[in-house]
Homo-oligomer: 96 residues x 2
């Protein structure tokens, strides 16, 4: 099941392919910095569309050119494969 | 000057026309709740465009259908007329 809580060991294993994400307070966390607000919000717009298509949404904060994303599966109270998939999709946007 | 820090008295006076905004930690704060993520992010997109046109941007957090907006003028370390104007513009979106 995609929304099964992952064990610490599973998270550590999956994080090998997400080296730029931190794990904090039961969430996958990453901070992105852009040159200005337009770039930051453009990035957020791409994630918004992907999130909706995955039926899984980030918790995120934007301050001008900075976007901080925190991924967890609220219903499960922790990190699941849904969070891992969204993190991978976000990294694919950022670097494509 | 629009980016002059407002006094407590000035803020209290201006907040009479912003009754749904709280003042907390030197920021104007308001929480919006929508029916789903699409509505929440649609609202954010409108604000993004307005913010850019005002050259003044919110600090904001989105969690699915919830948007929490915190307005302050970072350069000045507090609330200015720019924050008041953006708050008024946000309320105009929400209720139009």
């Amino acid at each position: 099941m995609e929304n099964k809580l992952l064990s610490s060991q599973e998270i550590q294993e999956l994080r090998k392919s997400l080296p730029t994400w931190e794990e904090a307070e039961g969430k996958l966390v990453k901070r992105f910095k852009f040159t200005n607000f337009i770039e930051a919000f453009g990035f957020m717009t791409k994630i918004a569309i992907i999130s909706e298509s995955l039926s899984h949404h980030p918790e995120w904060t934007n301050i001008y050119s900075e976007v901080i994303i925190r991924l967890s599966t609220h219903d499960m109270g922790g990190i699941t494969m849904l969070d891992y998939k969204l993190a991978k999709a976000i990294d694919a946007i950022k670097y494509e």
